[in-house]
């Protein structure tokens, strides 16, 4: 299996498992949990080192894993107290744990190079080289096994508990009333998050994990309002970003994990601009459409008032320009559209409203009155 295939597979596994659990984090406003765990694991690796006297991957991952679970537990306890917002709960927990780690390193282990970058975080670039042995027999890259296992666990969790997770994410009160514990489901999800995050840190490093946990789900969130579609889209965007990022890293000779996370960022920007409902482009077009309709109504109302006074000689574009201060181009555009719709017509000295225009004014007035009632 070539290194390219290994890197693409590991990148896709990480992206897919992060997208699955990350979607629920984004919905529950806990998106920064991955980032928090990346800092909060420091005391775990220091304690694991002090206990075992070793900087080997296994004790480091176990120490980090314990702290990962502890972090989500503390965040959840603070959340449930209802005294803090989600972001503040995360913000309180991880600096506290990280600072304990810094104090432990500086007071107990300053002579040993012990930081998350050098003992815990791997890099997806090393994935093809780090082959796992079972009884002396190589059984393929270790990262493929660990990230693959995380993906299987996350996929099973989402498949088996899909309905429960959905209810818990959107309506916890309903969840307890129909007979299952939202707390239990939630802790299962959070345990899956911390195991996914720590196992992926060890295989591919932090930036890729933190990025894939948040960005593809957030992108999918802009594109749909259905949970199932959001999960599938998030997985697709994550996997697509890994492939595109790898191609970029290959061309530009840069960090693979960085390029994959950056590709996910670009996907987000693209959908923020072009999403059919919430996209900036869609909103701009809608805004313009509403603006044009309003301008037409204003002109009709203006002309209509004049008609009631019996002043049927019409008003020139100049008069309207002066009245609405729109400038010549915009005035011409608004009048052109109204004329094409048959709501106004040329008159002796300018323009006048047609009977169809009067009816449109009447209808708009009734609609506005109906709105007010």
């Amino acid at each position: 299996m070539s290194s390219t295939v290994v890197i693409l597979l590991v990148g896709s596994f990480v992206a897919a498992s992060c997208a699955l659990v990350g979607s629920f984090l984004v919905l529950r406003r806990l998106a920064l949990l991955g980032d928090a765990i990346s800092h909060a694991v420091l005391p775990g690796i220091v304690v694991a080192f002090l206990l075992t006297g070793s900087r080997a991957p296994l004790p480091m991952v176990l120490g980090a894993g314990c702290l990962g679970v502890f972090t989500v537990f503390l965040v959840e306890v603070l959340n449930r107290s209802r005294r803090l917002q989600e972001d503040a709960s995360i913000g309180v927990v991880f600096p506290a744990l990280f600072s304990v780690g810094v104090i432990l390193v500086s007071s107990l282990a300053a002579q040993v190079d012990l930081d998350t970058d050098c003992v815990l975080y791997g890099d997806i670039a090393y994935a093809p080289s780090d082959v796992l042995d079972v009884g002396g027999v190589p059984i393929g890259p270790k990262a493929l096994w660990t990230t693959g296992a995380a993906l299987v666990v996350d996929a099973l969790l989402v498949l088996l508990l899909y309905k429960e997770l959905k209810v818990v994410s959107f309506d916890p009160a309903l969840a307890s009333s129909i007979g299952f514990s939202p707390v239990l489901v939630h802790y299962l999800l959070m345990a899956a998050v911390s195991l996914t995050v720590v196992a992926s840190f060890e295989s591919v490093g932090s930036i890729l994990v933190v990025g894939m946990l948040v960005v593809p789900p957030a992108t999918a969130y802009l594109l749909t309002e259905r949970l199932g579609v959001m999960l599938l889209l998030a997985v697709a965007i994550g996997v697509g970003s890994s492939a595109a990022g790898y191609a970029f890293a290959r061309w530009y000779e840069c960090s693979i994990g960085g390029a994959m996370a950056a590709a996910a960022g670009l996907a987000f920007v693209a959908s923020a601009l072009a999403s059919p409902r919430h996209g900036l482009l869609a909103r701009y077009l809608k805004h313009r459409r509403l603006g044009a309709r309003l301008a037409g109504h204003l002109v009709l109302l203006h002309l209509s008032g004049r008609a009631a006074e019996g002043e049927r000689r019409g008003l020139g574009p100049r008069d309207l320009e002066a009245r609405f201060r729109w400038g010549r181009v915009r005035t011409a555009r608004v009048l052109g559209r109204l004329e094409a719709q048959g709501l106004i017509e040329p008159a002796a000295a300018g323009l006048r409203i047609t009977p169809a225009g009067e009816r449109a004014v009447e209808q708009a007035g009734t609609a506005a009155l109906a709105d007010r009632r």
């Binding site: 299996m1 070539s2 290194s3 290994v6 597979l9 897919a16 420091l42 006297g53 900087r55 080997a56 991957p57 780690g101 810094v102 390193v105 500086s106 282990a109 300053a110 002579q111 040993v112 190079d113 012990l114 930081d115 970058d117 050098c118 003992v119 815990l120 975080y121 791997g122 890099d123 670039a125 090393y126 093809p128 080289s129 780090d130 082959v131 190589p138 059984i139 393929g140 493929l144 096994w145 693959g148 993906l151 299987v152 996929a155 099973l156 498949l159 899909y162 199932g228 579609v229 999960l231 599938l232 790898y246 890293a249 290959r250 530009y252 000779e253 840069c254 960090s255 693979i256 390029a259």
Partner: protein, 314 residues
């Protein structure tokens, strides 16, 4: 959500792993070089690449993963590094955790290609280790030129095993390099002797110069430990200022990899105690200078550091 898509992934997974199982792992290995052409040698740091290139001469293409000024702590592998690693038939690294996780992985590559941890050439009893953590050695062995000379023989032997036709060349180059390094070692001793014994105190930002101090009789005082996770504490600054004032140290040094600010705060704290200390210059610690400059070679880097230290303390 559609169940079938995830079930697909679940079903496909074991077969993917099964296919890796039969794979010999990383391609290459010594046999791959039977085609002729220069050996591809990959070193982690510039210090190692410089030594290897001197020994190999024109018979190998030596590359370094970490370029000039790259702190091994901050090194991030690029996509090109993956392919360089695959293409290399000989991989040379420092070991002793200087390369962090990368070091672990290089150790595992030994099954499919020739991999040499240079610190293995140094007898264990000559490695520095913190008293409270036996076995976790200080990796900065290259600052003791006599220790660094010990790595020459193993590199030459590894090259000769891969390219027996040029073994004599490697041996000759290695002998010449060992003479050069012995000269350099003696030169450093002579230069350091210019500093009055009482003034031989080297104050730096992070603890990279332990081997240097031990070899050449200089007391080394570092603001930070070897780990960069812990920032310098107030206590550390006070401890260092105490030494500087007590021993009337004239100059202290900055390193490219540690913020200048910390060392500047020491200068101010000394001034407040009525002792003027200057910044004696910037030392190369974990990486060489730019390629093509004098400091871009191992010898030039040592000469730069020693000249800066001796010039400022004398």
């Amino acid at each position: 959500m559609s169940k079938s898509s995830l079930q697909c992934v679940l079903l496909a997974f074991p077969s993917v792993l099964a296919s890796t199982g039969c794979d010999p792992g990383v391609a290459g290995g010594p046999a791959a070089d039977a085609s002729g052409g220069p050996l591809r040698v990959l070193a982690t740091t510039g210090m190692i690449a410089d030594v290897a290139a001197r020994i190999a001469g024109p018979h190998a293409r030596v590359e370094a993963l970490m370029g000039p000024g790259v702190d091994p702590h901050l090194y991030k592998a690029s996509e090109g590094d993956v392919r360089r690693l695959e293409a290399a038939v000989l991989v040379l690294y420092n070991g002793l955790n200087l390369e962090g996780k990368l070091g672990d992985i290089l150790g595992k590559l030994a099954r499919s290609k020739r991999v040499l941890a240079l610190s293995d050439s140094v007898p264990r009893d000559r490695l520095r280790q913190p008293p409270e953590f036996a076995g976790h050695h200080d990796p900065h062995v290259w600052f003791d030129v006599a220790l660094w000379k010990l790595t020459v023989g193993p590199i030459a032997r590894a090259l000769a095993a891969l390219d027996p036709a040029h073994a004599a060349d490697f041996e000759r180059n290695a002998a010449e390099l060992e003479r050069d390094l012995a000269d350099l070692d003696a030169w450093v001793e002579r230069r350091v002797a210019e500093v009055p014994a009482g003034h031989r105190v080297l104050v730096t930002a992070h603890d990279a110069f332990g081997y240097f101090g031990r070899r050449y009789g200089i007391d080394v005082v570092a603001l930070q430990g070897i780990s960069t996770a812990a920032e310098a504490a107030i206590r550390d600054v006070e401890r260092v200022v105490e030494v500087i004032v007590k021993r009337q140290v004239k100059a202290i040094f900055v390193e490219s990899s540690v913020p200048r600010r910390t060392i500047e705060s020491v200068v101010r704290a000394c001034a407040a105690r009525g002792h003027a200390v200057t910044i004696g210059g910037e030392l190369f610690s974990d990486a060489l200078g730019a390629a093509g400059t004098r400091e871009g070679t191992y010898r030039g880097m040592v000469e730069h550091n020693v000249s800066a230290i001796v010039g400022a303390l004398r």
